[in-house]
């Protein structure tokens, strides 16, 4: 069962709506452990992508590359750059293709995770968005139905966030808060949970 730019466009619509909605919550979460701009980063990025959406090409590689650049243009914050990195890794894989199978999604997420890990030089288990993606990749492995994939990704992201909540942040601005971060959600994981949920439309 395959996905095209049509599904991408509707996902973008749900995502940008979600990021408008989560704007304050994400800024607040990042404000507690960083500079409070995570909502800004995602809202701006998704707005730029929404504007591109109607004109996105059939070629999924080209389409995702355009989405990646929307993030590099609109934000210098870590999350925007990581999103761009992840999207670009998917773009490379899908270059020249107009369809992608739901069964490939797990591998695409894993590829994004690895590219973002190479970019940010953080380890898995460090209480970052990488742990969300890792859980999403594992949760979606072997699934072939697109709805099942989307829901598995969403629950995977949520689970990872919950699991990591009790850990100490070791990466980025949150690191300097050390012990204080125990019991606090990592802003980036919180954001990925919201993103996965929005894509799944749950």
């Amino acid at each position: 069962m395959s996905l095209t730019v049509v599904e991408l466009r509707s996902a973008i619509a749900r995502l940008s709506e979600a990021m408008e909605r989560e704007f304050d919550a994400l800024n607040a979460a990042d404000g507690a452990l960083g500079d409070g701009d995570l909502g800004v980063t995602l809202k701006r990025g998704m707005r730029a992508i929404s504007e591109l959406s109607p004109g996105l090409p059939e070629d999924l590689g080209q389409a995702l590359l355009a989405c990646a650049q929307a993030f590099t243009k609109t934000s210098g914050s870590s999350y925007g750059t990581l999103m761009a990195t992840g999207l670009m890794s998917m773009a490379k894989v899908l270059r020249g293709r107009t369809e992608v199978e739901a069964s490939e999604v797990s591998t695409l997420i894993a590829g994004a995770r690895d590219a973002m890990q190479a970019r940010g030089k953080a380890d898995l288990g460090g209480k970052t968005v990488l742990d969300s993606l890792d859980a999403m990749a594992r949760a979606t492995a072997g699934l072939t139905d697109s709805k099942a994939v989307a829901e598995a990704a969403a629950t995977g992201a949520a689970r990872a966030q919950a699991e990591m909540k009790g850990r100490i942040a070791t990466i980025g601005r949150a690191r300097i808060f050390g012990e204080k971060t125990i019991g606090m959600d990592d802003p980036g994981m919180l954001a990925m949970t919201a993103i996965a949920a929005a894509i799944a439309g749950t």
């Binding site: 500079d35 409070g36 701009d37 650049q69 590099t72 243009k73 609109t74 934000s75 210098g76 914050s77 870590s78 925007g80 750059t81 990581l82 761009a84 990195t85 970019r119 940010g120 030089k121 990466i171 980025g172 601005r173 300097i176 808060f177």
Partner: protein
């Protein structure tokens, strides 16, 4: 803290408009992003380019140090926020004179990811890039984790020395080696008395009692090593020198430069009061002080506080440190 501004969203762009209007002989806006400042008179063809970038709110860092014998271009982010990879790529393109470009900047996650990505973007322009990252703040991590330290005022020494080395006509690898040596020779520590306000946030970066200070606090208000009653100037200077010398001991006969830097609101009068102790301490170590820098070299807008940066020199570093340079904020004849 009170600020003189219009719409907070325009703070950086209006600052850049004023900066380039006031000093057209030094600065020009380059690239499409509107957030790159390059030399008004580009370096000579074949000169290695030096580019930096980072958040606004630290003048003269970063933008101010674009000039002859210093930087070629700078990517400018919002206040205390990294510029985007696109902006950095534009800065690299503006800095390139065909001999490659050094990315010389501070150790902050966002900046690193973006400069790395910018490097990948300019590969398509066949611009070779190297990287030198400042991590001079001894209060931000123990020696064992020195690579995790934040980059602060040591950057100014690195800009100066790398800039002079590039001006001297060395190739990319050689200038990179010298820049890295300069970065490795710097140790910094700061002490904060009152915060500043990020325009778009609208509130102080931290809270602190009217009679308190924080030793080792970062330039964005990152937590330091202790917070307590405000101490006497001589005691503050003494502890800061202790911290620097513990991290980079000096031997009799060593030659060093020292920066006694205001974080913004602290006036030069107080920097000179501190300098008495700093100089006496270096003399006691048997070190020779070369070109001390006392003033506002790396700030956080209206933050009250100081930072010291010790730069241990060898003949090569001293030659480039004392070589001529010229920008709106600093000139060495």
């Amino acid at each position: 803290m009170k600020k003189i501004l219009n719409n907070p969203v325009d703070y950086v762009d209006e600052m850049l408009a004023g900066l380039t209007a006031a000093h057209p002989e030094f600065y020009r806006l380059a690239g499409e992003t509107g957030r790159v400042v390059a030399r008004a008179a580009p370096g000579k063809p074949g000169k290695v380019g030096i580019v930096t970038g980072g958040g606004s709110g630290h003048l003269p860092v970063f933008t101010g140090y674009v000039g002859a014998g210093l930087l070629d271009a700078c990517a400018i982010g919002d206040v205390f926020a990294s510029p985007s990879a696109e902006q950095m790529a534009d800065a690299i393109r503006a800095a390139d004179q065909g001999a490659g470009v050094i990315r010389l900047y501070g150790n902050y996650g966002g900046d690193i990811m973006n400069f790395d990505m910018a490097g990948e973007l300019v590969e398509f322009d066949d611009i070779r890039c190297t990287t030198v990252i400042l991590a001079d703040d001894v209060a931000s991590a123990p020696p064992a984790e020195a690579a995790k330290r934040r980059g602060v005022a040591g950057m100014v020494y690195a800009f100066k020395i790398a800039g002079a080395a590039a001006e001297a006509g060395h190739d990319l690898d050689e200038v990179t080696r010298i820049a890295q040596k300069a970065a490795d020779a710097c140790r910094s520590v700061g002490a904060a008395l009152s915060p500043c306000t990020v325009p778009q946030a609208g509130k102080p970066t931290f809270q602190i009692g009217e009679d308190e200070m924080e030793m080792g606090m970062g330039i964005h208000g990152e937590p330091g090593v202790w917070r307590g009653k405000l101490r006497a100037a001589d005691a503050i200077a003494g502890e800061m020198m202790d911290r620097l010398l513990a991290d980079m001991p000096l031997a009799s006969g060593d030659r060093v430069s020292i920066m006694v830097n205001s974080l913004g609101a602290t006036p030069p009068e107080e920097l000179y009061i501190l300098y008495r102790i700093v100089k006496a301490r270096l003399d006691a170590e048997g070190a020779t002080t070369v070109m001390p820098l006392v003033g506002r070299y790396a700030t956080s807008m209206e933050m009250t506080g100081v930072s010291f940066t010790l730069c241990k020199l060898d003949a090569e570093l001293e030659t480039y440190l004392t070589a001529p340079c010229d920008c709106a904020f600093w000139s060495v004849a």
